[in-house]
Symmetry: D2
Subunit: 339 residues, 4 copies
Amino acid sequence: MKVMMKRGASLKEVGNVLSGAEEAGFSPYVMRQEERVTVCLPGADRRRVEALAASLEGVQGVAAFSKNYKLVSREFKSADTVVNVSGVPVGGKEVVLIGGPCAVESRDQLFRAAEAMKQAGAHLLRGGAFKPRSSPYAFQGLKDRGLAFLSEAREAFGLPVVTEVMAPEDVARVGEHADVLQIGSRNMQNFRLLEAAGGAENPVLLKRGMMSTIEEMLQAAEYIVAGGNPNVILCERGIRTFERQTRNTLDITAVAVLKDLSHLPVIVDPSHSTGHRRYVIPAGLAGIAAGADGLIVESHPCPDEALCDGTQSLLPEQFRDLASATKAVARAVGRDLLA
Amino acid sequence: MKVMMKRGASLKEVGNVLSGAEEAGFSPYVMRQEERVTVCLPGADRRRVEALAASLEGVQGVAAFSKNYKLVSREFKSADTVVNVSGVPVGGKEVVLIGGPCAVESRDQLFRAAEAMKQAGAHLLRGGAFKPRSSPYAFQGLKDRGLAFLSEAREAFGLPVVTEVMAPEDVARVGEHADVLQIGSRNMQNFRLLEAAGGAENPVLLKRGMMSTIEEMLQAAEYIVAGGNPNVILCERGIRTFERQTRNTLDITAVAVLKDLSHLPVIVDPSHSTGHRRYVIPAGLAGIAAGADGLIVESHPCPDEALCDGTQSLLPEQFRDLASATKAVARAVGRDLLA
Amino acid sequence: MKVMMKRGASLKEVGNVLSGAEEAGFSPYVMRQEERVTVCLPGADRRRVEALAASLEGVQGVAAFSKNYKLVSREFKSADTVVNVSGVPVGGKEVVLIGGPCAVESRDQLFRAAEAMKQAGAHLLRGGAFKPRSSPYAFQGLKDRGLAFLSEAREAFGLPVVTEVMAPEDVARVGEHADVLQIGSRNMQNFRLLEAAGGAENPVLLKRGMMSTIEEMLQAAEYIVAGGNPNVILCERGIRTFERQTRNTLDITAVAVLKDLSHLPVIVDPSHSTGHRRYVIPAGLAGIAAGADGLIVESHPCPDEALCDGTQSLLPEQFRDLASATKAVARAVGRDLLA
Amino acid sequence: MKVMMKRGASLKEVGNVLSGAEEAGFSPYVMRQEERVTVCLPGADRRRVEALAASLEGVQGVAAFSKNYKLVSREFKSADTVVNVSGVPVGGKEVVLIGGPCAVESRDQLFRAAEAMKQAGAHLLRGGAFKPRSSPYAFQGLKDRGLAFLSEAREAFGLPVVTEVMAPEDVARVGEHADVLQIGSRNMQNFRLLEAAGGAENPVLLKRGMMSTIEEMLQAAEYIVAGGNPNVILCERGIRTFERQTRNTLDITAVAVLKDLSHLPVIVDPSHSTGHRRYVIPAGLAGIAAGADGLIVESHPCPDEALCDGTQSLLPEQFRDLASATKAVARAVGRDLLA
C-alpha cells in the first residue's frame, strides 16, 4: 500500500505519516517524484492503512501499488545503473569478468586461483566460503576461515571479492570481508535475506532462482532496493527444464528481457547453466552478444581436484581465451572489455 | 565424511573423536547400527578428517557418505514413522485433514475459520502469520499478532496449529505458539532454516520446492533429521511446468515415490497445486488414493474477501464434503479418516 | 471464420454458401443452434470469406471463431459424451480398464497377454502394431502382421482392440483391424493425422502430447470432432518436467480440468506417466479418484522379456489387483467398475 | 539390429543378406568402415534377424546398435557437413540468414517481403504455405496457391526457398516448389514424415520439438540420414518452460552441444523462441556467438497486418540491422557473414 501526500504537504505532515506507520508496525519509506511525496508501506493491509490515513493531515489518498516492482524498473529510472564495486564499474559501457573457484578450499588453492585470475584478465574474484549444498553430507565450505582467506587474497592481488551469504545474520560479517554479497539461486526468495541485503553497504549480486520467473527475480531485487540498497547486479544462471545434456538451461533471452524492463546491470553465469567446461565459452559469449554487462565464471587451477563443480570449471588458460573472445564479441556489439 | 570406529571401540575413544571433531569446527553426530559406531561429520573436508582420524585411537577408517540422504530412507528405517502432533498421529493407518485460511487476517476471521474447520472435521488448523510473498508490496501477514491469534484459537477450539516459519531466528518464537513448524516451498533449500528446524522441539512440515526434485526434498528432510529432529512430515504441493490451467502441477506420483523411498509421512496440498477451488477436491482425493497420509487444504469463511489465495480456498461446506469423500476413498484403499 | 446466416435463411441460400465455400477451396461445415444456421470455414482467410459472403443472399455477417475450440466444450454440449466401443461404454457412470502389452511381439505373446487380460477383468485390449520410437534403430513393431494378430485375438477373446495409428494413409487399414484408433503422444499435433481420424468410423483415443497444454489437447480433439467424428476419448499420460524419478509427471489435475471444460470421456495412462511398475497402481487409483472414466495400463505376461516398456508393465496378477482396487475407489467416488 | 559381415565377405554374400532382409520385410542399408561391411536393419527384431543370419554365408555375427544415433554423430564423421542449398552453403565458415514472413498470405505480400529480404541481405527466403495450427479454426495457409507463389518469388528474386511440409504425401510436391523442406517443431517426431524426408532430394531443415531433448533431435535427424538424405540442417527454436515473458525459452547452449555431438549444420530461430520483435536481434546474435551456422528470422513488410506471428516479425529495416550486427559478431568469433 502507499499513502499519497497532497501536493505541498509539509515535512511535518509527512513525518507524522511516517511515525504513525512505524507505530502501526509497518516499514515505511518515502518516494519523491517531481513535487509529489508518497509514503510506501510495503506489505501493509489496506484496511489498517486507510484507518491510519483517515486520522492524519496532508494525505491525499491511499492506494495499492500498481505493480509488483517499481524501483528496479525502467519506468522509474530510465538510465542504466552502474554499480561501483570498489572501483570496478558494473553496468557501464564496458563488460567485466568475474572469475575464481567454486569454493575456497585452502589458502594455497585460493591464492593460486587468484593469481591465475589476475593474470588472465578477471576484474573481480569469486569464491565460496559458505556453500549451500543439497545434501547435508556434502562439503559446505570453509566458512569463516574461507572468508579470511578471501580477505587476504583481495589485498594480495588487488581484486575485489564476490562471495555468497546464506543467512541474514551473516550479512554484516561477510560484508566486512567481501566487496559484493552474492545471494544464490536457492535463496532468491529467502525474503529475510533479501531484506538484510537491503540494509547492507555492499553491492549485491542476485542470482536467479532455478525455478523463478523473470518477474519474480525483479521483485526479489525490489526487496533489496526498497530496503535501501540500490546496488544490485542481476545474474542469469540457468533454469530447470527437462533437458539433461546440460546442468541447467541458460535462458539467454532473459538477459535482453531484464535489460529491457530494468535499469540494473545483468550478468551471465555460463558455468552453472551449462555444467560442462567445453560449453562455458560459447554460452558466455552468447551472453555478451545478448547484451550482458559481464560474466561470472568458475575457474580452478586444478579442476580435477576441485571439491565441487570441477567439471564446469575452466582451466586458467581457457579463462584467458574467454577474456580475449569476450573482448572481440563486446566490440562487435558496440561495447568493450573493461581494461 | 564419516569416521567408522572399530568394533568394540570404547566410549572414551568415541568421545575423543567427537571432541576432536568439534574442535576442528565440524558438527559431529553419532550413529549406531548393531555393534558398530560411526561418527558422522556432515559437510567436512576429507583431507582434514583423515588428518584428525590418524591421530586418534579406536578408528577403523574414514569414508565419504555413500548416499546423499540416509536417515530418512527406508533402508535406514523400514517401518513408517508416525509423527505425533500434540496427540494427532500423522503417518499412521488413518489419514488426517489440516484446514484453515491462507493467512491470519484478523482475530475474528481466524476464529470464524477455526470454528468452521472444527465443525467440518479438520484435525489440525493451518494459518499463516508470516507470509513469504514474491513482491515486497504484497500483504506479508500479521506476524507476531498473527501468532498470538493462532495461540488463542488453538486453546479455544482444541486444534493443534500449523504455521510457517521463515527465518532461523524465528524458529523458537513460532514454536512456542504453534505445534507444527511449516517450511514453505521457497525455503525448502534455505539450509540455515533447515538446520534451525533440526534443533527445534516441534514437528516440521516440509513443503516441496516448486522446482525441486524428489531427491532434493529427501535431502532437505535429511538436514532436519540429521540435526536431531526426527519428526518431519513431507508435503507435495505441486511443481512448476509449462501448463497454465492450474497454478502448479500436482506431482501425484511423487506421493508414491516418497512413500517408497522414505519412512516419513507424506501429505498433499491440493490448494496450491491447483489454484482453483473447483479442482481441490478431486486433486485431494487423488492424493489419498495415491497413498498420502493426509491433506492440507485452504479454507476461508469468505473466500472472496481473503487477502490471499481466495480463489483456491474452499468454502467451509465444501471442506465438509471433502472430509466425507476423503473418508470413503481412504477406506477404499484400506485406511480410514482419523476420527 | 464463420458465415452467420440470417434468421430464416432458406436451405437454398445455405446451400449456395456451402458450394461457394467449397469452390473457393474451403472445407465448410454447418452448425445449427436454435433457429440459427452458421457455416463454419475452419482456417479460412477473413478477406476471402468476406468477398465470398458479399456476393451471396441470406448472409447476416462474417466473424472469426470466438474460441479455439467449441464442439468439444461443455458450453456446446453440457451432458457427458459416452463413446460406444463395440458395446463397451466409455464415459458413462462405470469406469473401464484397458490392458495389454506395449507392443505386439508375436502371436503367442499376444494371445497369452489377451487371455490374461480377459481373466484379470480388462474391458478392452491394447497392443501396438506400429510403434513410434525415438531412434530409427529401436524395434518398431510387427506392423501389418501385428494388426492381423490383434484381429485374431479380438475374435478369440471377445475383447475390443485399441491400437496406434501413425499416419493418415494407415487410418482405414488400422480401422479395419482395430476398434479404437489411438493417436499417440508424439502425434497429438500431427494435424493431418487428426484430420484423417476425423473422417474415420472408429472411435479415437487421443493421448496428450508430452509437451502439450490442456488447451492444445482440446484443440486437437476439436480437429477430429469438427472433421465429423464425435467419438473421441481423451487420455492424460504424463508431461515432461525436470523430475527424474518418474518417466513423466502425471498431471492428475488435468483429469479434473478436462472433465470440467469438455464433455468427452477422459482416461489415464499410469504406465507411461510413471515408468515403473510399482507406481502404476497408486497412480491409476489417483486417476479414478480424480474423476477419470478409465485407465489404460500396460501388462505383459513376462515383463522381463518385453521388447519395450517392460519395467512399467504390470504382471497379470498385479492387473487383477488393480481391477479390484479400481472397483473400490470408483465406488468411493460414486461410480463403479464396468461389470 | 545389424548384421556384421566377415572381413572379406563377397559381394554376393552381402547381396544375399540384403535380399533376405528385404524379403523378411526389413529395410536394410549398408555401412562400410575400412574393410568391414555391416548391413543395418533399423527397427528389426533380434530373434528374426538371428534366424535370418543363421541361414546365410559370410556373416560374422548379429548385434544391436550400440547407440540411438550414429550417422549424424561426430564419431561417424568428424568434419563439418556443409549443406548446399541451391548454391548457398550452410554449415561452412560463413553464416547465413534466412528471412521472410511466417505465412504466405498473398502474391503481393510475398513479393514485397521477398524483395525486402533480398535487399536486406537474406540468403534464403522463408514462408509457410502449409501452416500447422493448434486450433482447427486458425488460418492454415494458402496451401498449393502458396507453394506456387513461393516458386514465382524464387525465380523473381533469385532466393532459394525454405517452406514447411506437414505430411509424407506432400514431400514430393513441396520439394518441387521449394529448395529446403522444413519439418516443424510439432512434427519433429512424426516418424513417417521423417522417413519420407529421408527419401527426398531436397535438403531438410529440422526444427527441434518444443519439449524434445537434444538427443531425441539427433535421433530424428538420424531417421532422415539413415533414409538416404544426408542434407539435414538442425534448428534450435526454443523449448517450453515455466517462463512466460517469452514465447519459448531459447536453449542457447543446445547450439554448442549439437555442434559438439554432430557434424550437421545448426541454425537458430530467434523469432519463435522469443515471440517478441524487440528480443529477436539479441537472441539471434547470441546464437551466432554460441556457434550457430545461421539464423532463420521472421520478417514481414507490415507486421501489424500479418495473419500470424506479427508481434515477433522484424520490420525489413530491422532485418538489415540484424544482418550487419550478425556480420560483426560472426567476425568476432572467427567467421563471417556469407557475402
